[in-house]
Symmetry: C2
Subunit: 491 residues, 2 copies
């Protein structure tokens, strides 16, 4: 155990020990059951007093990180990590990648370099001057500096209602709850509809934020594999027979991470199944305003004649993430319940930011903004696919018709973790496929986001990624070759 | 049952029926066990089709509001409201006043008139021009329009660290998590530290948001009565023997709703007890920056040598509620866990608003702002007490040395619900005492907030409240008198 202690820090030394040992345990460097040094030994190594080490061990014990057994020593305690071998249809709490200290790692971006890691809009697209004007106008009203209505600014709810109508969704302003982005809408909806131990269904792969919210809430998750048209109906039906899920969470339009778009027949099948089985669907339409050419298909909610669909979205991908504004609409009584969860988690989203966005929508600026960014993302997605065809010919990838991400499948035998780390070392950030699955899995995937990267840098970054993968392919083939040559026939 | 149906509305008629019947049930107008009209009868009364009513009843049934028994009819289902008679020391889920549709009522303000209902700062105190300048500056940095760090804007965490130092709390920026106001800090901390069914301790009376967060999370709550110096240690110790609370939630400085301030000996006793019993204390210091004259005592956190205290606060009372910004600091491993809950509930608070506040703090404007509002609130609190002495001589009230609220106790036999409703009718809003208790209770209290009301309107509003109470006193005395005169001696 090596600790980096800073005696000049404001943080007491014992807390530095707690923090650093905790991190080593969380990250798995110190595995469950490993023996920690004795208090005396660690005091000697670090030059700290035994009392300091003892206090640190006491706190780590209180936090559940370590266990002391008199006469035997101190050991890393078992954490609640599920076993690696899992039957596909088991409903288990998802591995919490952040609790494991892995999510940050999986989404790490180079501090300088090219990042395809995060599904970001292009920062150059943010209409700064317009936003400044709207914020200035909003601050003129002192009411907007006070507490606002739980449901949201009435003017923004009106504006969102009009935006939804363009997606084919009829939701009057009073049926809309404003949230802090889609993540908040997901967390509030999950919290309201499900309790610890309940089973929920998600796509596999899916948005890691939804998996983490579920993990945090103690929900059990069944992942449903996707084909080109969406979740496979046969899987869904067989799981429905086995489980009583509280809901099915879907991103049907320009799905995150795969970038696929559910076909119209699959959407109809899902609605019919929801009606038959009394299944609630939570539809996340966060990318629905970002089709490239062909208009996006109407969301499930547009055909939801039986009030089975809860629909949520956000302005983080289509406009500005930093406003932290999203929305949810649901059948009246359910929405009232979600609103109460919102009230008791943070009262309401900032009335000031809500009004600024409301003014932007009311003045009809969003249409022109969307037209501009759609053209931008279409061009960038095409540039990425073109570069992939040249630099990663042994891989396969999805061909999105909208949204911000595509899904790359590495050749068999190439470890995504190694590719990820080496690419990062070369200055190229990607998102590891693992983070999008509720349980550990062995396939090699990367999610690549093109929205915030210029075509020239896409060309350069994919080129670097191609060289990293090519080097691994050469090594894999050389190893296979050697194995063939050295294998002795059994006689 | 009378329903107000709007055929011109975008909301389908069956949903209007669902919404309105749901509201009548939630608010208790339709009590548990009451029989609903038959489908045919309600169709006749409303002029709607039987199918519409049937659909509405089906949805109400699915939502758990009503139950149908073949051959007997349709009845309002039992809701999970605990019985009224409760032993003081029982740990029960608090009555969720919002779920019961009561909280909104308890805090209702007259649309025109004078409101003492909400603990609001004075809107005239908001430094609009300065805020506009800071927002403009913040928007110039496109990074602040993207996603920010989960923990918060580093510049704001630095600024908050300096503000805390003035309260005697040493918390380096990395030990601070920025939240959407104190409500968000409370919800995140409760969620991270406790699970459904766990027992927590709170003051009684206490902040309703904390009670609602606990109710929402399925926590069981023990309320600890307060005396002039804080929670009574004997009660706390006896409850500690009986329960294993996950934590004790306190507002020790200018307590909400009572306005009392814990004495220095009581603070020391609490810290000693926390050490002895391994008790975690969540200290809400939201009013700590608002002493009138005498400096506020240092928070418990300032003397927390054993890392037993989690400290949270907000800029909603001391600066501007509409920014929705607060903070929490805790021992390192606990804070990391709270930050993960934050990440999976809304990623992070708006980087834009965070930076605007950070710039305000960095330029040292907060000190002058606080000096001005403290003088204002001191004057208004004095004006309210002066008016109370003249108009409500039969009541008692607390005498705060800071903060935004005082606590009025009505004379015996006066119903706070009636006083509340009549005052509202006369254009004066007050907060009913009931909402600050985890369980129904019979005493009559009002919380009066003076921060946002001018001395002239305080005089007028308390005058009206005085006439309402005086009229009830006369009726009470007349009734008692008649009872005495009419009572026959038992011979």
């Amino acid at each position: 155990v090596e600790l980096a202690l800073n005696r000049a820090s404001d943080v007491p030394l014992y807390r530095q020990v707690v923090e650093q040992l905790g991190e080593l345990i969380r990250s798995g460097v110190l595995a469950t059951g490993s023996r920690l040094p004795t208090i005396r030994a660690l005091a000697d190594t670090t030059g700290l007093t035994r009392l300091t080490i003892q206090n640190a061990y006491l706190e780590l014990g209180a936090l559940g990180y370590i266990e002391s057994h008199v006469g035997r020593g101190t050991f890393v305690a078992a954490r609640t990590v599920p076993a690696i071998t899992i039957r596909d249809s088991d409903a288990l709490p998802p591995v919490s990648w952040t609790t494991q200290g892995i999510l940050a790692d999986l989404l790490s971006e180079p501090t300088e370099g090219i990042s395809f890691a995060r599904a970001m809009p292009d920062p150059a697209s943010y209409p700064l001057r317009a936003l400044q004007g709207m914020l200035r106008e909003a601050t003129e009203d002192p009411v907007l500096l006070g507490y606002g209505p739980v449901g949201g600014d009435p003017l923004l709810r009106e504006g969102v209602s009009r935006v939804l109508l363009e997606r084919g969704v009829v939701a009057p302003p009073e049926a809309i709850l404003i949230t802090n982005g889609a993540m908040n809408a997901i967390d509030l909806t999950f919290r309201t509809l499900a309790q610890r131990g309940d089973v929920i269904f998600v796509e596999q792969p899916t948005y890691p934020g939804a998996l983490e919210a579920a993990a945090r809430q103690g929900l059990r998750v069944v992942g449903l594999p996707l084909d080109d048209e969406g979740v496979r109906m046969a899987d869904l039906e067989s799981h429905l027979v086995r489980h009583q899920p509280r809901f099915l969470y879907l991103v049907p339009t320009y799905q995150n991470p795969m970038g696929i778009c559910y076909s119209t027949p699959r959407r109809a099948q899902l609605l019919a199944l929801a009606r038959t089985h009394g299944l609630t669907i939570i539809e996340d339409d966060i990318y629905g305003l970002l089709p490239f050419e062909r208009a996006a298909p109407p969301p499930l909610k547009a055909g939801d004649t039986d009030a089975r669909v809860i629909y949520l979205s956000s302005f983080s991908k289509s406009f500005i993430p930093g406003l932290r504004l999203g929305m949810v609409t649901a059948p009246v009584a359910v929405l009232a319940d979600i609103a109460r969860t919102k009230q008791h988690s943070d009262l309401n989203s900032s009335p000031l930011l809500q009004r600024a966005l409301a003014l932007y929508l009311r003045r009809g600026h969003l249409g022109a903004h969307l037209a501009a960014v759609r053209a931008l993302y279409r061009e960038r997605c095409a540039a990425m696919q073109d570069a992939l065809a040249r630099y990663l010919p042994h891989c396969t990838w999805t061909e999105p018709e909208g949204g911000l991400t595509l899904w790359l499948t590495l050749p068999h035998g190439i470890d995504e973790a190694v590719v990820y780390r080496e690419a990062l070392h070369e200055g190229v950030g990607v998102a590891r496929g693992q983070v999008f699955y509720p349980q550990p899995q062995a396939e090699g995937h990367l999610r690549l986001s093109y929205g915030a990267v210029s075509p020239a840098l896409i060309e350069k970054g994919i080129g670097i990624l191609g060289r990293v993968v090519a080097a691994h392919l050469r090594r894999r083939d050389a190893l296979a070759d050697r194995a063939r040559r050295e294998a002795l026939p059994l006689m």
